[in-house]
């Protein structure tokens, strides 16, 4: 009887031993396959946002003149990018990143370059959303780029500010001459998110793409928006929609490598 019990314990520990070994093997196998995957799909696309005002480089602290001859000194310029989509029309393959949000900030050059993993053989078109999708607007408090601490969130009227330009201008007849375009809105008829897309023509697979962003277009492209007439946009609505139509035209394709 005593012997059989001992045999029993031995065999149990034996099984345990085997299981542990198997676990260890499994573990290393996963690690191995991950490494393999990474080396196979290690290609990346770097997207650079080149901020401009007409032909000038655009950054906070500097003074620019908009298409209406109104001069302004920039304090903040930020916008959200999400839903980046890459497409290869030759084999209809698509890469889509709906859950990656990027806050591009004129005051922080490190935010002006974003990298996304690349598995396509060729990129024939790229599209993205300027703004934040409506579902995320009404979800609870987010982290990272979407953290309300970034000052791109309306606390009194739930929703994201999709693009913010804060500046001073002698043309702005408001306290401290400070004018603000806080553009946002996700409800029907007030949705300020804009999908922006480009066809890309190149022979080889590119790994770097520059998007030129012309802030002049924010003031004047689809709708003329003069600082003197509209020094404040601070909620969703018609003015936000006009500015959104304008910022949808801000982008153009620059250098590809």
């Amino acid at each position: 009887m005593k012997l059989s019990i001992r045999h029993y314990t031995t065999s149990t520990t034996g099984i345990l031993c085997v299981m542990l070994t198997v676990l260890c093997l499994l573990n290393s196998a996963t690690v191995y396959s991950q490494v393999k995957e990474n080396t196979q799909q290690g290609e990346q696309l770097t997207l650079k946002f080149n901020l401009m005002a007409g032909r000038q480089h655009f950054s906070p602290g500097n003074t620019y003149t908009n298409p209406f001859g109104e001069s302004y000194t920039v304090e903040k310029f930020r916008f959200y990018i999400t839903q980046v989509q890459l497409q290869d029309s030759s084999d209809m393959s698509v890469q889509f990143f709906p859950n990656d949000y990027f806050l591009i900030d004129a005051g922080d050059t490190s935010t002006q370059t974003i990298t996304i993993p690349l598995s396509l053989k060729k990129i024939t078109s790229i599209s993205f959303l300027l703004g934040v999708d409506s579902v995320t607007n009404v979800s609870s408090v987010q982290t990272g780029a979407l953290d309300p601490v970034n000052g791109m969130f309306w606390t009194w009227n739930t929703g994201y500010i999709m693009l913010k330009l804060q500046a001073t201008s002698p043309a702005a007849q408001v306290p401290a001459n400070q004018f603000t375009f806080d553009v946002g809105g996700y409800k029907q008829g007030e949705n300020a998110a804009r999908k922006i897309g480009f066809l890309l023509k190149h022979k080889h697979l590119i790994h770097s793409l520059t998007l030129n962003v012309d802030v002049d277009k924010l003031f004047n492209s689809v709708h003329p928006v003069k600082i003197a007439e509209h020094p404040m946009c601070h909620e969703p609505g018609p003015l936000a929609m006009q500015l959104a139509d304008n910022y949808a035209t801000m982008f153009s394709i620059g250098e590809m490598q």
């Binding site: 520990t13 009404v138 609870s140 408090v141 601490v149 606390t155 009227n157 739930t158």
Partner: protein, 362 residues
């Protein structure tokens, strides 16, 4: 054979050790606090799966709720305008005091049964309980602080990093965790033990005025103030004329729809005895003033609710009975609940005077 069993024994000891250590780690897990849905009440709208309430999270939320350092000058906590003895409204104030001797623009509502509330503020502008605290913290007429400064202050504190770790598993302090902790505290504030509730549960009985008042209430008030929340959470214009200095258009500020002009959220009547003054701008001091508005002073305009248009017929007799019933909605076990008291004040929660209301006035 012997060496095999020795090796196996060693492996066994190691494995047991690992299990023991991991279970010791498990004991560090926060303690779940069950959320009890009162009998007959609907399912909460708050998604508890995204923010399970724990003892540690609740206590962190409580500390934050009572901490003035969430405001710019350190003087204004959430509790400055949401006092437990007033069912978490501001006692005796039409508008609350904010930073730099400012006044808020609206009357602070009582805080309870928030797990069932989908939209917040008098105009419903805020769409999630977690997002709600960001409004008073950043409002220049309330706490006047930036979220960034609050987070910086909490990170530099001696006890907050430990409390965040206990509640959320790591010492990271960010907006999401700050607001989740506050929500955990706020969610547990369930007021379901007024005399009315005890009567409905068969544990108590109404006196004659209360019973008569309840009958009138069911006929004339309940369509907008239905139990168990005593609000239907809708937005209505009850014919309160616009204050020419506040210029508050209510719900229309959020929806931009002229049909929502001067509409405000129907307030809960639970603990209504303690949440005076009344109305979105607190212009009615006594309950009698509110009833007098409904029976004499409704100002008709295109968006005035059809239920109160041209006044609500109420006799002097009826207003008296209605008040008797509404006083039966006071939940003193809620306003004395030590769980919601300031940390360290559990056994000495301040109380409102028993009969603040000038019940003998009419």
């Amino acid at each position: 054979m012997k060496w095999i069993s020795t090796i196996c024994f060693c492996v066994f000891v190691i494995a047991a050790g690992i299990i023991l250590v991991s279970s010791a780690e498990k004991t560090k897990q926060p303690t779940m606090l069950p959320f009890k849905i009162p009998q007959g009440w609907p399912k909460p709208v708050y998604d508890f799966s995204q923010n399970p309430v724990t003892k540690e999270g609740f206590e962190l939320g409580r500390k934050l709720f009572y901490d003035g350092r969430l405001s710019r000058d350190g003087n204004f906590s959430c509790a400055s305008c949401h006092q437990q003895f007033a069912a978490f409204a501001t006692y005796d104030h039409n508008l609350s005091h904010g930073i730099n001797n400012s006044f808020t623009r609206r009357n602070a509502p009582g805080l309870f049964n928030l797990a069932w509330q989908k939209e917040f503020m008098w105009d419903g502008g805020i769409l999630h309980l977690d997002l709600q605290p960001l409004a008073p913290i950043t409002d220049t007429l309330e706490m006047g602080e930036t979220i960034e400064n609050v987070l910086t202050r909490l990170r530099a504190d001696t006890s907050y990093p430990r409390m965040f770790k206990e509640a959320f598993g790591s010492g990271t302090i960010n907006t999401q965790r700050l607001t989740k902790a506050l929500s955990q505290f706020l969610l547990m504030m369930v007021s379901d033990n007024s005399k009315y509730d005890r009567v409905m549960r068969g544990e108590d009985s109404f006196n004659l005025p209360e019973r008569l008042g309840y009958e009138i209430f069911q006929k004339k008030c309940q369509s907008c103030h239905p139990p168990p929340f005593f609000t239907d959470f809708s937005y209505r214009n009850t014919g309160i004329p616009e204050d020419k200095y506040l210029n508050d258009i209510g719900r229309m500020r959020i929806t931009h729809n002229p049909a929502d002009s001067l509409k405000f959220k129907v307030p809960s009547l639970r603990n209504v005895q303690l949440t005076f003054p009344y109305g979105h701008d607190g212009r009615y001091y006594y309950l009698q003033d509110v009833l007098d508005h409904y029976r004499k002073n409704v100002v008709n305009s295109p968006t005035v609710d059809s239920l109160v248009r041209d006044n609500l017929p109420l006799s002097n007799y009826e207003t008296g009975q209605l008040k008797a019933f509404m006083y039966a909605l006071t939940d003193s076990s809620f306003t004395r609940d030590p769980r919601f008291a300031p940390p360290g004040y559990e056994n000495r929660t301040p109380q409102a005077p028993a009969e603040h209301e000038h019940q003998y006035k009419y």
